[in-house]
């Protein structure tokens, strides 16, 4: 990584947002460096979207410090936003306009010249794989296409930072993979990306580094691999004994691994070697209904940190 690649483009210290008597974001600290792909992972209501609105230089913070591209968003919102690309959770595409017009009109908001934009629109349609939808209305496109259009729209001003709020929520698995591929390309091109998600696999796929948020606070920070290493084990053995027996069997299972978590439908045993642990469980005559050995994921990290699972 070169020196410029390490430049800090966004920093938050004690960042807070309070609505009335509800604290949505309770004093969080983080930094994002140029070219980095940074994730904010957490369940619904963790304060991710509120954080996103603040770092989009739209919603004013109620406390703490926030610096984006060297400026204070409470003072210089429009100047900062000139260099941000924002992909909102609900797309907010214009249904009255055609696909290409959505990109064109958006580019005009940044004062970009018409002639330049006509060329840029073609390039973006190609990138979003929407060339044959050029003259379609938004409603004629699938959810995945609409999301790709929203991402293309967020790129029209060639932003320094691309912000994506839950980019694949509500998309089917195939559409998600197409989208991940597009985001991956942006990442390879050195675009700084900040995204929120409640999908662990998404965070693992797309993020160099992430923070885990819950109840307005940051619970942990690091690369996906580091977080898994710190807060989970290498492998996880999932055992189902039936709803009634999970709770009572857990203490007997615990001695075969590093740690055990009991969920309503299954028991999770954290261990360096899942297969060996399963063998021990069987040898002890505990007879699970089903069993599964898998790699530990960010889901396990979250469970460890909060005692709750990410997606209820």
């Amino acid at each position: 990584m070169s020196e410029t690649a390490k430049e800090i483009v966004l920093s938050a210290k004690g960042l807070t947002k309070i609505y009335g008597d509800f604290t949505a974001v309770a004093g969080i600290d983080f930094e994002v460096r140029r070219g980095e792909s940074f994730g904010i992972l957490g369940p619904n209501g963790a304060g991710k979207s509120t954080t996103m609105k603040m770092i989009s230089a739209v919603s004013k913070r109620t406390g703490g410090e926030l610096n984006i591209l060297g400026k204070d968003p409470n003072q210089k919102g429009p100047e900062i936003r000139a260099h941000l690309g924002v992909v909102p959770q609900k797309d907010l595409l214009d249904r009255e306009l055609k696909t290409w017009e959505n990109l064109f009109v958006y580019g005009r908001y940044f004062g970009l010249p018409r002639k330049w934009l006509h060329k840029k629109v073609d390039e973006l349609l190609a990138f979003a794989q929407l060339e044959d939808k050029r003259n379609s209305k938004v409603d004629e496109m699938s959810g995945g296409m609409q999301r790709r259009l929203a991402i293309a729209r967020g790129l029209v001003n060639e932003p320094e930072i691309l912000l994506l709020d839950e980019p694949t929520t509500g998309l089917d698995p195939q559409a998600r993979h197409v989208l991940w591929d597009r985001l991956f390309r942006l990442r390879e091109n050195g675009v700084t990306i900040i995204l929120t998600t409640h999908y662990m696999d998404e965070a693992e796929q797309l993020c160099d580094r992430l923070v885990v948020m819950d109840a307005g606070k940051i619970m942990a920070e690091g690369s996906p691999a580091d977080l898994i290493k710190t807060y989970a084990s290498k492998e996880v053995l999932e055992l189902r004994f039936g709803t009634d027996r999970n709770e009572e069997t857990a203490p007997q299972v615990a001695k075969f691994g590093d740690r055990v978590e009991v969920l309503p439908d299954r028991v999770l045993l954290y261990t360096e070697n899942g297969e060996a642990a399963l063998e021990s469980v069987m040898d002890a005559g505990l007879k699970p209904v089903t069993s599964l050995v898998r790699r530990a994921s960010l889901e396990d990290v979250f469970l460890r940190l909060t005692g709750r699972s990410l997606v209820d």
Binding site: Y19, S56, V58, S59, K60, L69, G77, P78, E79, R81, A82, H83, L84, V86, P88, K90, L92, L93, D94, R95, E96, L97, E101, V105, Y106, R108, Y109, F110, G111, L112, W116, E123, L124, A126, F127, Q129, L155, N157, E158, P159, E160, R185, L186, N189, G190, V191, T192
Partner: protein, 277 residues
């Protein structure tokens, strides 16, 4: 499949982007209006023609015959109603662009939030919406004014001041209406109520179809607070020589200025608050 050529942060001229936001929003609103161009043109042309034929010539014929032309000081009825019709068309035309488009922007489609994610500020969005509404108003008074001329309902020399006093009424009134729509969380029939209980009485009791003096004193106040009455009075000053004293003409314009300024201050507050939540 293609890769993007990308030079982050290089293509936007920040000073230019931040400066011209209002115009770009107006540009967008007009592009949106163009989808309804056929309706806007046919309403703009059809509405005056229908009114002038039915009220101006039809009812006018009756009024002129019954009064022997003396009732309105010798002014033909068509010429009497012409400034009022132009003013009400301007008010309606401008207002159309600050009611449902604002609901759409905040509540139904939330477009304003997408616009506000760019270098465009909340105030600029409000200004852009108003700007496009004014342009629609200009278009309306030009078409309507042209038809009034064609019908011989106004003298040619009065055309410009008449268009101005009508447009200004439309803008002032729309600032107040936009202050309402900018604060609405959902429609809930508010616009229907405004239409029935504000616009309709305003249209009927602003001296539109007869001099306000003919009304008993206890309903005349509706006219006095109505922008339509103020605009109609000014229009009649310009077209049929109503000849109000200068100070009274000034009062009309001060009234519009107050409506416009107070309306827009409330509009700005609502836009800044809602987009910055």
């Amino acid at each position: 499949m293609s890769d993007l050529r990308f030079t982050p942060g290089q293509v936007v001229d920040v000073a230019k982007a931040v400066r011209g936001g209002s115009w770009r929003v107006a540009e967008y609103r007009m592009r949106n209006m163009l989808h309804w161009w056929a309706a806007i043109i046919s309403f703009g042309l059809g509405n005056p023609v229908l009114y002038l034929v039915s009220v101006g010539i039809g009812i006018g014929g009756l009024v002129n015959k019954a009064s022997g032309g003396h009732l309105l000081g010798g002014v033909p009825y068509l010429e009497f109603v012409a400034p009022a019709l132009l003013a009400s068309a301007a008010i309606q035309g401008v207002m159309d662009e600050v009611t449902f488009p604002v609901m759409e922007g905040f509540t139904w489609e939330k477009y304003f939030f997408a616009i506000n994610a760019t270098s465009v500020s909340a105030k600029q969005i409000a200004n852009g919406v108003m700007l496009a509404a004014i342009i629609r108003g200009v278009w309306t008074v030009i078409m309507y004014g042209g038809i009034l001329l064609a019908f011989g309902a106004i003298p040619f020399t009065s055309l410009l001041p008449l268009m101005f006093s009508s447009l200004i009424a439309g803008v002032a009134w729309s600032a107040v209406i936009m202050a309402v729509s900018a604060n609405l969380k959902n429609d809930d029939g508010v616009f229907a109520i405004i239409g029935r209980f504000v616009i309709a009485p305003m249209f009927l009791f602003s001296g539109t179809f007869y001099p306000l003096d003919l009304m008993p004193l206890y309903v005349r106040w509706i006219g006095w607070i109505s922008p339509l009455w103020h605009s109609t009075q000014l229009g009649r000053d310009y077209t049929i020589g109503l000849a109000e004293p200068m100070w009274l003409q000034a009062v009309h314009y001060v009234y519009f200025a107050l409506m416009g300024v107070i309306g827009m201050l409330i509009v700005y507050r609502a836009f800044v608050r809602r987009l910055g939540e």
